[in-house]
């Protein structure tokens, strides 16, 4: 889930008719001064950072004058809070509070339904309220299809002691809050406190909103750059990884950079897991060997070779790692050679400078192991490939041994590594787009080719020899671009191995090249 900053949360709930304090989002102390002048009177200054408990960290202040507000803003702006710099502060009117409440809606994952929680006591944490004043808390699960009914909303207020206009007003507030929860597809939406002002309005004095990562694609209004709980501002590599992943629904590619200050010789690994449970277990295995993981990466759910290639490139873009370790659960359902094809393209293109242990256990693992051995044999570093009958602990031990005996390859050795793709300018280019990239054949080279290995390698069978004996699509360009070409990368690899290296598959990685 992704935490949305207060100002954006308030902007969203306001669309559903909820009152929020009059305020301005500013980025400079001067802006805070102007905003305070505009508002007139006492103001609240709140740093806009994705964290909780701001008041205790000096990230909330009160000021009576524009000068004081500017001073507060100056103190907050530029501070680093949990890795996130404070770049914006919210200047809001100071509310004339008559009473405070807590209102929240969460996704109850056990029940699979929204849970509305209301308390007639607001301000402090809901856990403490529930512990010390259980009678002031009321909850109700909501049938998703039916939604929150007006009487249910009022009943929550009545049960905690509200009556009359106050009960009706709070009922209306909760209805709007529920509509906002549905509207932005929230994981949780909490307002603490809801303030009843002395002039009788219910106002959201704060707004704590988390949204569902899987739904962010249909909510551009939330301005979410990376829909993942990273715990830090997204790094350049994370941005690259997310850009590759967000529109490609084939399988999953998850990447978090756990450490960016990584030095050679300190036992940092580029970690590449496969599958949630398998990745977790594999990470434990390398930790037991004394390694630290620079990143957590998971490619699973039968990703195409192109996705695994991009993951490999992004992992290797982290400098300072001593080894590359890939392992999943051991018995994966997806055909493992797709992953192997992605890796060999990445390893040769880079080229790989550190030892690698690849445990691609599962369906067709023998082919995956064969690929890795065949295409990595001439690399100046060791790549060992394993399968399901090789325990993860053993593989972690191999990683240790390979790193211990590793010597850095020379520049000449690295330069001698040829990538799989055609690096010459094609004389007779034949190209077509794929879902996320482009494939170019040089038909001038193809004319000299005897093996025509690309045709046999193309598992979807979309390549055939044309009347001049050169490989061409037997489907339309549109179909190839829409995914009929599965980006299995086999034509390029086999052409390199037994043909004329006439194929070039370009798979852009935003931010990386």
């Amino acid at each position: 889930m992704t935490l949305i900053v207060e100002a954006v949360g308030k902007r969203e709930v306001e669309k559903y008719g909820i009152h929020v304090p009059r305020g301005f989002l500013v980025e400079l102390p001067e802006g805070a001064r102007k905003a305070t002048e505009e508002i007139g009177g006492k103001v609240v200054i709140k740093a806009q950072v994705r964290t909780t408990g701001r008041a205790g960290q000096g990230l909330v202040g009160f000021a009576d004058s524009p000068e004081d507000a500017a001073r507060f803003a100056e103190r907050m702006l530029g501070r680093i809070v949990k890795g996130f710099p404070v770049t914006q502060v919210l200047i809001e009117e100071f509310l004339d509070i008559s009473r405070e409440y807590f209102a929240g809606i969460i996704t109850d994952t056990k029940e699979g339904r929204p849970l509305v929680i209301f308390s007639s006591r607001g301000g402090s944490g809901i856990e403490e309220i529930a512990r010390d004043h259980p009678e002031s808390v009321a909850k109700v699960h909501i049938d998703y299809t039916r939604g929150l009914r007006p009487f249910e909303a009022r009943e929550l207020a009545r049960k905690t002691g509200l009556s009359g206009k106050e009960m009706v007003g709070m009922g209306a507030f909760l209805e709007k809050l529920y509509a906002a929860f549905i509207g932005v597809e929230a994981r949780s939406l909490e307002v603490n406190p809801v303030v009843l002002t002395s002039d009788g309005r219910f106002v959201a004095a704060d707004c704590h909103l988390t949204v569902d990562d899987y739904a962010v694609f249909r909510h551009p209004e939330l301005d979410v750059e990376i829909a993942r709980e990273l715990g830090h501002p997204p790094t350049a590599l994370e941005k690259s990884a997310y850009a590759c992943e967000k529109d490609d629904y084939r399988g999953t590619f998850y990447f978090i950079q756990l450490e960016s200050d990584v030095k050679k010789g300190e036992g940092w690994l580029g970690f590449h897991g496969s599958g949630g449970g398998g990745s977790m277990m594999s990470m434990d295995a390398v930790s037991d060997q004394g390694f630290k993981v620079a990143d957590f990466c998971d490619t699973s759910g039968n990703p195409p070779a192109s996705k695994v290639y991009r993951a490999g490139r992004i992992i290797l873009a982290q400098s300072g790692i001593d080894g590359y370790f890939l392992s999943g659960s051991g018995v994966a359902s997806q055909e493992q050679y797709h992953g192997a094809r992605g890796l060999i393209k990445a390893f040769r293109e880079e080229p790989l400078r550190i030892p690698a242990v690849i445990r691609l256990g599962g369906n067709r693992e023998e082919l995956a192991i064969e690929y890795l051995n065949r295409f990595c044999a001439d690399l100046p570093v060791t790549v060992e490939a394993y399968g399901k009958d090789d325990k993860v602990t053993f593989c972690a031990e191999r990683m240790r041994a390979l790193i211990d005996e590793h010597t850095s390859p020379s520049d000449a050795e690295l330069e001698a590594v040829k990538p799989l793709h055609n690096t010459d300018t094609p004389k007779l280019p034949y190209e077509f787009k794929t879902l996320t990239g482009k494939i170019t054949f040089d038909h001038a080279k193809c004319a000299k080719c005897e093996s025509k290995a690309c045709i046999e390698a193309c598992k979807p069978g979309i390549l055939e020899l044309n009347d001049k004996g050169a490989p061409a699509l037997n489907i339309s360009l549109d179909d190839a671009a829409r995914g009929k070409c599965t980006e299995c990368l086999a034509c390029e690899a086999e052409c390199f191995y037994s043909g004329e290296t006439a194929v070039r598959i370009e798979l852009p990685i935003p931010g990386l090249m």
Binding site: T145, S300, R364, K388
Partner: protein, 304 residues
């Protein structure tokens, strides 16, 4: 016998014309699942793996019904409509393979399942497999490897991780222990059949004598499983492993979440709850087969 598959149940594949749909239709057919056809709106009349494609689930029901089960291989944003379409057409079990299905869509699917008295496995599941009976989803990958990986027997497997589901079954098999059914409950925060629901089905399956459960930190499925044991809803031996011992605790539990979770969801909390309920805990992943053998011996249960 199997917990979710029946040899006679008719199965369709929604999204059979796609890359995954085609591949896994082949797997299911090859492993003995009674797949009668598929549905892709706008592609009616096509043939995949020798089977007809229809434009809607209702059309499939009319042409080849009664269809009891549907397996979904379609992009996540389209899953909600397809799932509810299946329910309204009388399908009683759907297997939602894709991941990244928006959570609010899953809540709506859940509400529809209740309304139509139906069940769903997943989302984000590899499905379920019973040796000698069939497979729903993509467990095993291909029929050939599924036959190689899984040995028939008396131990059920329920797991929150897909790869781990098959891996446990495989490593049990290597240790001489066969499986009755293996179920991947799905990796998402809300799933249709969480661990306790799967355990209930294993409880009433005469061919299952014990169950291995792979849990993970987060959520309350494992604690709920422990509760089910405490209330005698599950009485067979349970061998459990919880992953994520060393994983950093993140911000996945919001303040309001903590109020209903009540400190639940942690590694230690899950271990404690399961131990108190009498489950056997495998200390490491590698130890699962060994612990299972010991439990079966102690209870006088044969291993295949």
């Amino acid at each position: 016998m199997a917990v979710l598959i029946d040899k006679t149940d008719k199965v369709i594949v929604q999204g059979m014309t796609g890359r995954e749909g085609r591949t896994r239709t082949k797997l299911m057919l090859g492993y003995g699942t009674n797949v009668v056809g598929g549905v892709t709106p706008g592609r009616g009349g096509e043939v995949v793996e020798g089977l007809p494609v229809w434009d809607s689930v209702l059309e499939a029901q009319d042409a080849a019904g009664p269809i009891n089960t549907s397996v979904l291989f379609i992009p996540a944003p389209l899953v909600k409509s397809a799932a509810i379409e299946a329910f309204t057409a009388g399908v009683k079990l759907i297997v939602i393979v894709p991941d990244r299905v928006p959570l609010h869509d899953v809540m709506e699917i859940k509400a529809a399942a209740v309304e139509y008295d139906a069940d769903f496995l997943g989302p984000n599941t590899l499905g379920t497999l019973s040796p000698g009976v069939g497979v729903l989803g993509m467990m095993g990958g291909s029929a050939e490897s599924a036959r190689k990986f899984f040995k028939s027997g008396t131990v059920g497997v329920s797991s929150r991780s897909g790869g781990i589901t098959s891996s446990i079954a495989y490593y049990l098999g290597k240790a001489g222990i066969g499986v009755s059914s293996i179920v991947h409950v799905g990796g998402d925060p809300i799933v249709g059949l969480p661990h306790p629901e799967v355990l209930r089905r294993f409880e009433s399956d005469p061919d299952t004598k014990a169950v291995v459960m792979f849990g993970e930190i987060g959520g309350t499925q494992e604690e709920d499983a422990a509760e089910l044991i405490e209330s005698s809803g599950f009485t067979k031996p349970l061998i459990a492993y919880i992953g994520g011992k060393g994983a950093r605790e993140g911000t996945r539990f919001s303040h309001a979440g903590a109020i209903i979770e009540g400190g639940r969801g942690t590694y230690q909390g899950k271990i404690d709850a399961l131990k108190a309920a009498g489950a056997a805990i495998a200390p490491t992943y590698d130890a699962i087969p060994e612990v299972t053998i010991q439990v079966l011996k102690d209870r006088g249960i044969g291993i295949s």
